[in-house]
């Protein structure tokens, strides 16, 4: 330590007087300058402190570059380092002593700049708009460690560059090549994360900052190895510096590269929760997205075949935030999934339409030539056969062939109102439902206006209106698109989906539930004094065909219809949440009910169910059993 202290003291004593004078002069200038600035909106004291901080930062940065580029390397190139190496002075003490002194001088010079302002009385810093330009405030000491890190960074980087340049060795070619390789590796790995959706967000910034922090010890180590092994020979030192610097940076970048690959190669089993799950009425594929375990908050999305475990990685989850209301749309037969995803960088590139044929054993996402520039489309619907899709873009309803990108129809959007929904009711008909008078998504809708697009004729015309439904909670369309069930807080109604005409009141209230069966019949539950009952109604919603009683149940919902004559229903004996649902299989022919287990669930209207914990459970109707496919999310 005596050697370190001696070198440190010598370096400081060599520089401190001239630096102190220069720093204080700069500080006086910074303190005086606001008096001549015509910025009456800022108190002079605030401007003074802001100017002082700015000058302090600039001086510290300049000193770090100057000292980093000279304290060791100029001695080395001028053959003066031999003075130290001819003494009983360890190499580490020489390196650390000189660099620590340089860092102290650079930081100290910056702090001295602040002295005149502090003596004159300074304000906290800039406010208002200018604070965003120069957000550092005198009273917040959070910038002190950042200044220290910045000074060290510039100091060590300047030393490395200085040695490389002063050595005048042919190795500089390798330095440039190595820098290029490492920069390329960094950009590739970073771009991979950004393309995967870790975009503009704190994970990427944290990664950048973390890498910058890791580069600091690498720069320090490279300089130390250069001094310890190169000693007075600048060319030999250059070789050691370059070898260490690029070697360690290469290792760091390879780790970053491997990590980034690992992050984006998350599988469905890595999900710790699900933000979105959807599935077609048919088939064994589901779409899901959510955060993955230990991956910097990466939120992958998957198309996942629950029967085989096969999955692909579409990026529909990204477009979900700013793009279509539906992140992925399935054809009615479940054989095709269509979605939009960003072509390149999320939120900075157009949305491109992609699809995957789910019935092909080797099916992979296919990119179409259909692009949507900003503003991004808000909605996506797919025809029953999956061959066409419809969307609303720039106030026009567009119907396009998925595979060819051929535009089949483009009609103006009749109303510029959000919360629209599109449905194909045949290959050539697209229905548009526009909710008007919406207060918010879950409360009141005053009316639901219905329009229909005639694709061959490229026309759009109003076809109906559903009048006010207080306490609106949602609605669902029948498989054929001819009727709709509207749910409110107190009522269930069956409407003609085209004209909006009221067909029947399904009765019920808050605890009632209704759903269309595959053949168009309606299954509706309602409370009774003994519990709940489930009625199977004809398609007109009035004629009761069957009735099943579930005494002791307080809730009853229809999960799905795994076969024509079977319903999977869930019941709960309490109104409390989370509910412990009992899953039952109801045979519509015999009326037989078989319990297949209990689960806490949140999503019910797909063949699978989502547990409260976020796990995905699939109902294998052939085996008649629940199967957990993603657990412990």
């Amino acid at each position: 330590m005596r050697g370190f202290a001696a070198v440190f003291g010598r370096e400081v004593s060599e520089w401190w007087k001239s630096l102190a004078v220069a720093s204080l002069a700069l500080g006086v200038l910074a303190a005086a300058l606001p008096a001549f600035m015509d910025r009456p909106e800022f108190p002079v004291a605030e401007l003074r402190s802001a100017m002082s901080l700015l000058f302090a930062f600039l001086l510290s940065a300049a000193l770090a570059l100057l000292l980093g580029g000279t304290v060791v390397s100029s001695d080395l190139s001028e053959k003066r380092l031999g003075f130290y190496f001819a003494r009983p002075l360890p190499g580490w003490a020489l390196w650390a002593g000189k660099m620590t002194a340089a860092a102290a001088l650079a930081c100290g010079g910056g702090f001295l700049v602040l002295v005149p302002s502090l003596l004159l009385g300074s304000g906290p810093g800039l406010r208002g708009d200018l604070e965003t330009v120069f957000p550092v405030r005198m009273g917040d000491l959070g910038w002190v460690p950042l200044l220290g890190i910045g000074v060290l960074y510039l100091l060590l980087a300047a030393h490395a560059v200085s040695v490389i340049l002063r050595a005048r060795s042919p190795w500089i070619g390798l330095d440039i090549a190595a820098l290029g390789c490492i920069a390329a590796l960094f950009v590739m790995a970073r771009e991979r994360l950004i393309l995967a959706g870790l975009t503009g967000a704190s994970p990427v910034l944290a990664t950048d900052f973390g890498l910058l922090l890791l580069v600091l010890p690498i720069l320090f180590t490279a300089g130390a190895v250069q001094v310890l092994h190169g000693r007075t020979d600048i060319r030999r030192g250059h070789r050691f510096l370059s070898g260490t610097l690029w070697g360690l940076l290469l290792v760091l970048m390879l780790v970053f590269e491997v990590s980034s690959r690992w992050i984006v190669n998350a599988s469905p089993g890595d999900l710790v929760a699900t933000f979105h799950v959807s599935a077609p009425r048919e088939g064994s594929w589901i779409a899901l997205s959510g955060p993955a375990r230990g991956r910097l908050g990466y939120q992958p999305s998957f198309l996942y075949d629950v029967s085989t475990g096969r999955f692909t990685r579409p990026r529909f989850g990204l477009s979900y935030y700013q793009g279509p209301t539906l992140p992925v749309a399935f054809s009615a037969d479940g054989r095709r999934a269509v979605w939009m995803e960003f072509q390149d960088r999320p939120f900075r590139s157009p949305l491109v339409v992609r699809y995957q044929d789910l019935d092909r054993p080797d099916g992979e996402p296919v990119r179409t030539n259909i692009l949507f520039e900003s503003p991004l489309p808000e909605i996506l619907a797919v025809s029953p056969d999956g061959a066409r899709f419809a969307t609303i873009h720039k106030r026009r309803i567009l119907v396009t062939e998925v595979e060819t990108g051929r535009l089949l129809a483009s009609v103006p959007e009749p109303l510029d109102i959000p919360f629209s929904r599109l449905f194909f009711v045949g290959p050539d008909r697209v229905r548009l439902y526009v909710s008007t008078g919406v207060q918010d998504m879950n409360s009141v809708v005053s009316e639901l206006r219905v329009f229909e697009v005639n694709v061959p004729a490229a026309t759009v015309e109003p076809t109906g209106l559903v009048s006010s439904l207080p306490g609106y909670r949602g609605w669902s369309l029948s498989p054929a698109g001819d009727r709709a069930i509207l749910r409110s807080r107190k009522e269930l109604r069956l409407h003609d989906a085209r004209t909006g005409e009221l067909l029947a009141s399904l009765n019920g209230g808050g605890r009632s539930f209704a759903s269309f069966l595959r053949d168009g019949r309606v299954a509706a539950s309602r409370p009774t004094p003994e519990g709940m009952e489930l009625r199977i109604l004809a398609s007109d919603g009035r004629t009761e065909l069957q009735r099943f009683r579930f005494p002791g149940s307080r809730r009853l919902a229809i999960a799905n219809q795994p076969a024509a004559d079977r319903l999977r229903i869930v019941t709960a004996s309490t109104l409390d949440k989370p509910r412990d649902w009992e899953i039952r299989l109801l045979d519509l022919r015999t009326g037989g009910v078989r319990s297949v287990g209990r689960r806490a669930m949140t999503v019910l209207d797909i063949q699978g169910t989502i547990e409260d914990r976020g796990g995905v459970v699939w109902f294998d109707w052939e085996a008649g059993q629940e199967r957990a496919i993603l657990e412990d999310l």
Binding site: R2, G9, R80, F85, R87
Partner: protein
């Protein structure tokens, strides 16, 4: 233990050998002059000896310890006068003394001041403003202030005028007489070296072509002189160190 032992010391710069399998032992108390033409490998040898350069093969031992691996430790006992005075230009001799005092186990600051007074060198003048001779004198004073057991002088008189050379050697001779320090000196000042050296080594193209005690060398070359005279008048004609050096390093005649 011998202060200096070189074992098969080899230094290569690419294909070129600056030192080629040099082995040399300098016993305690002796003054060894290492001679050689420019580029013979003297400076490479000194750098290896001071642990500033790693040999390609072989090793340099100072007091039995490897100079590369244990440089900082062994240099406590070594004073160094470099070929080019390399002290920081802004530091005065007094500041240099204070700096060095923190590095060595023992430091004779007063002796250094006294020596500089004898030299007529100001202790308060920045090193960069001193003349070349004064710089060499300061370097010698610094080297002696740690009371070293070994003094390594790398061409200390290079570029000095005759008076400065004389002063430096006289100081050295006085110091040697007082303390009996082991000395390794590389120099082109053969007359000066002849005054103090009791052992001579000559490097030629990186190889040590001669390593012999001065007395033995003088006798050997006196004999050769007789043989050359032959049957003529009997005269004792001893070659000077310069003539021996030229004979040993003259590449044209081998």
């Amino acid at each position: 233990m011998d202060p200096i032992v070189l074992e098969g010391l080899t230094v290569r710069y690419g294909e070129r050998a600056a030192l080629d399998d040099v082995s040399l032992t300098v016993p305690e108390g002796s003054v060894c002059a290492l001679l050689g033409r420019n580029g013979a490998g003297k400076s490479s040898l000194v750098r290896c000896l001071l642990g500033q350069q790693k040999p390609t093969s072989g090793r340099a031992l100072l007091f039995g310890r490897d100079a590369w691996d244990r440089r900082a430790e062994v240099l406590h006992e070594v004073g160094v006068v470099p070929e080019e005075p390399d002290a920081p230009r802004s530091m005065t001799a007094r500041q240099l003394s204070r700096f060095c005092a923190r590095l060595y186990r023992s430091w004779d600051g007063k002796g250094l001041e006294e020596r500089l007074r004898r030299f007529g060198v100001s202790s308060s003048t920045p090193f960069g403003r001193l003349s070349k001779g004064q710089k060499a004198q300061v370097a010698l004073a610094l080297a002696l202030a740690s009371s070293p057991r070994l003094l390594v002088l790398d061409d200390p008189t290079l570029g000095l005028d005759a008076v400065a050379r004389k002063d430096l050697f006289e100081e050295l001779i006085g110091e040697l007489a007082d303390r009996g320090i082991t000395v390794l000196i590389t120099t082109h000042d053969l007359a000066g070296a002849e005054r103090i050296a009791d052992r001579v080594g000559i490097l030629r193209r990186g190889r040590l072509v001669l390593d012999e005690e001065m007395e033995s060398l003088r006798k050997r070359f006196r004999t050769m002189s007789f043989a050359a005279v032959g049957g003529g008048e009997s005269r004792v004609s001893t070659l000077t160190l310069e003539e021996i050096f030229i004979a040993a390093t003259d590449e044209g005649k081998g």
